[in-house]
Amino acid sequence: MKKTIRIQKFAGEFAENKDIAKKMRVEKVMPTLSKNGVIVFDFDGVSGATQSFVHALVSDPIRKFGSTAFDNLFYKNVNNDIREIISIVYRYMQESLNSESYEE
């Protein structure tokens, strides 16, 4: 199973609304990963995103699904700024996972 989520469709041109990130996470990302499915986040038309938005979107999937999330989450049409923000969240989430102190 492979799902593509067009971020711009839900979050607009600048992705900052964490409520929307949470909704996408709960309704699309988590159920798909739980079936070992693949999610492609398509950032076409999105010029920027906040760290809070990306954290709300992917931190819980990384925490709960670990390597499945790393293997099955893909990002396309991502500009350099958003790429950096996603990378930051990936790095600190892995630091947190190692310490096993992340909290739901």
Partner: protein, 322 residues
């Protein structure tokens, strides 16, 4: 309550602004201005606006005469929320300045709409637009999520052509930083709470590294760091504590060094000012000092990672040598 708007309203002088605040009669707001010239930063404006909204329009007024430069207060929308009619008249077309007037945001949808509509008002390049959106996005979200502020977030911004700078102020009359940090971090003072809020990886929603599924404790650290890299001021005021990051010296070349510990930044702080029940955050961004946003984020992210790693290391068990 009494607020005085002086002729030196900027973040460098913000401490003198809050030293003159008088919260002694909380049901009423009296605003006075310098009698010859009034200059306000968005920080001053949003603070006055937040207090005016708290007491209600009928209980907020400007006392004494306002100099001609006070027309700016009208343009920024202050007279719309106080019980004093504006003495100023000007042509509406003059309003096409590069500013975002006082705006009240209560929901995430308000925030999204505001961010989409606001930026064209400042007429910035795409790169600079991203930074402004980022800052407002994170700061307003903080208010909506953590402040429990009945009047929401009050926002204003101004672009200054001469200095090529954007100034942003965001204020709420919610629970304040100390209360939002109290449950998990037990700060003893308002100042300790501010330091915690500025430390990367520390959020008021948990004591665990990495935060929760919703919060990572990165927002304020990122914004303070953006101000530092662009060599400008960042101010936060809540309860009796105020912290202002001072301008990084322009004669020191290269990207300013970022610190996880806000105490290590060149700053000014006081824990003995008037007790403000709410939070104000303000930042100046010098656009000509803005490096590529990606590089700026990379530097901030690096310090963030190191901070988490260092705190983890501090908790490591050590061998028991006997």
């Amino acid at each position: 309550m009494k607020v005085h708007l002086s002729n030196q309203g900027n973040l460098r002088n913000f401490q003198s602004f809050i030293e003159k605040l008088d919260f002694s009669v909380p049901e009423k707001l009296e605003i006075s201005t310098h009698n010859k010239w009034v200059t306000v930063h968005p920080a001053n404006l949003v603070m006055v606006a937040a207090l005016a909204l708290q007491v209600g329009k009928e209980n907020a007024e400007i006392v004494g005469s306002v100099p001609s430069s006070g027309a700016y207060l009208d343009r920024m929308g202050l007279y719309n929320i106080i019980n004093t009619p504006s003495p100023f008249t000007y042509h509406k077309k003059e309003e096409a300045g590069r500013f975002v007037p006082i705006t009240q945001l209560k929901t995430a949808d308000d925030q999204s709409r505001f961010i989409a509509d606001m930026v064209p008002l400042l007429h910035l390049s795409e790169e600079n637009t991203t930074i402004v959106k980022y800052i407002i996005g994170e700061l307003v979200r903080n208010v909506l999520e953590h402040a429990r502020a009945p009047h929401g977030a009050i926002v204003a911004a101004q672009y200054y052509r001469k200095t090529n700078r954007v100034s942003i102020g965001i204020c709420d009359t919610g629970i304040g930083i100390w209360k939002s940090m109290r449950e998990y971090w037990h700060p003893r003072t308002n100042m300790e709470a501010l330091h915690l809020a500025l430390t990367p990886g520390i959020t008021g929603t948990t004591q665990k590294e990495g935060g929760t599924s919703e919060n990572a404790g990165a927002g304020l650290f990122f914004i303070k760091s953006i101000a530092k890299i662009t060599r400008n001021y960042f101010t936060i005021y809540s309860g009796k504590a105020e912290y202002t990051l001072l301008k990084h010296r322009s004669d020191i070349k290269g990207m300013p060094r970022l610190f996880a510990d806000p105490a290590l930044d060149q700053h000014r702080e006081t824990g003995e000012v008037s007790d403000f029940h709410g939070t104000l955050v303000a930042v100046d961004i010098s656009l000509h000092e803005t490096t590529e946003f990606k590089k700026l984020l990379a530097s901030i992210g690096k310090v963030y990672d190191e901070a988490i790693r260092d705190r983890k290391k501090a908790k490591y068990r050590v061998p028991k040598f006997v």
